[in-house]
Symmetry: C2
Subunit: 207 residues, 2 copies
Amino acid sequence: MKIITISREFGSGGRELGKRLADALGFSYYDKEIISAIAKESNFDEQYVEETLLRGLTPNYTLTFGHTFAFGPDPIMQNELKILNLQQEIIKELAKKGNCVMVGRTSGSILEEDYDPLKIFVYADLASKLDRCRSRADAGEHLTDRELEKKIRQIDEGRARHQRLFTDKKWGARENYHLCINTTGLEIKSIVPAVRDYALTWFDQRS
Amino acid sequence: MKIITISREFGSGGRELGKRLADALGFSYYDKEIISAIAKESNFDEQYVEETLLRGLTPNYTLTFGHTFAFGPDPIMQNELKILNLQQEIIKELAKKGNCVMVGRTSGSILEEDYDPLKIFVYADLASKLDRCRSRADAGEHLTDRELEKKIRQIDEGRARHQRLFTDKKWGARENYHLCINTTGLEIKSIVPAVRDYALTWFDQRS
């Protein structure tokens, strides 16, 4: 099974890279699909699921006892734990289906025990991320540079916090990834062939 | 001018990657050549030059005032400063000659003001670095794993310290590189074609 997981800074083009890589490799692609599946399974609203995953658990502590989150007495906490458990289950179910690219959702950490996923981190300098956010129609509209910068920082902090729920491997620290790509000044489309070839070599070498 | 600079953890195969990349691209390759040129220019012994560059300046402080190191009154210090100044000059002279790959010597930081070098960082997990060191005939012979681990750490600390003499950009921090490659489990030779293609795309996009 060939699985590529992509973690990325907000605005770095990591999601686009993941989608294009999946297309170039003929792999399945999962991103929002994970949210939808959790929402369906839990009967929670998709937005609530997404916000919960982004925010992490209400009290900010690390839960890495085995692979199942214990259910606390607080009903909000119970919902959050339910969503986190479902996320793990659904990511593992999707991985079983075959070769794929997964973007976000701490999928690299969740899958690395059972598979040997190629873990990629995508990042860029701030100016480049601001540009990319501005060029998207819905994100960052009506925000000043400072507000947008704050938004980027908050989203990335949420991702780092979320990862701490599952693992002690720090989000964004290069030692926890196999390849770290700085997209500053690059059109994502242009780097796909080389990254695809790198991935294929990597799977070949590690098998 | 296309310049690739490679920083690397000791034992990660960064030098081999640099040499092979230069061959694959038809670029000049500089590594020990820089040491030899400094030795020749300064009339110091090559080993003394190499040790000085690895160790950094005797008193451990950061010197980043412009591009020339001031000459202190201490004769040992004067030698060290002479070597550091020569290193900068020689790296800049070599860069003028044409497309090249430079390994180590903080060349990425030294050149980034005048050129836009593709800065690559190469790393690996400890087990992989120990294996690679063991497989080299001269490095790490007769050393226990613990001694070899200490040697790896000391050399990398020397590199980080050396970089602090030239720049406030932290050695090994991914934001200071364009591509970070984890060579764990990989034969260096196998990844050269994809990295070469990535480099060519990168130069094309940034020009």
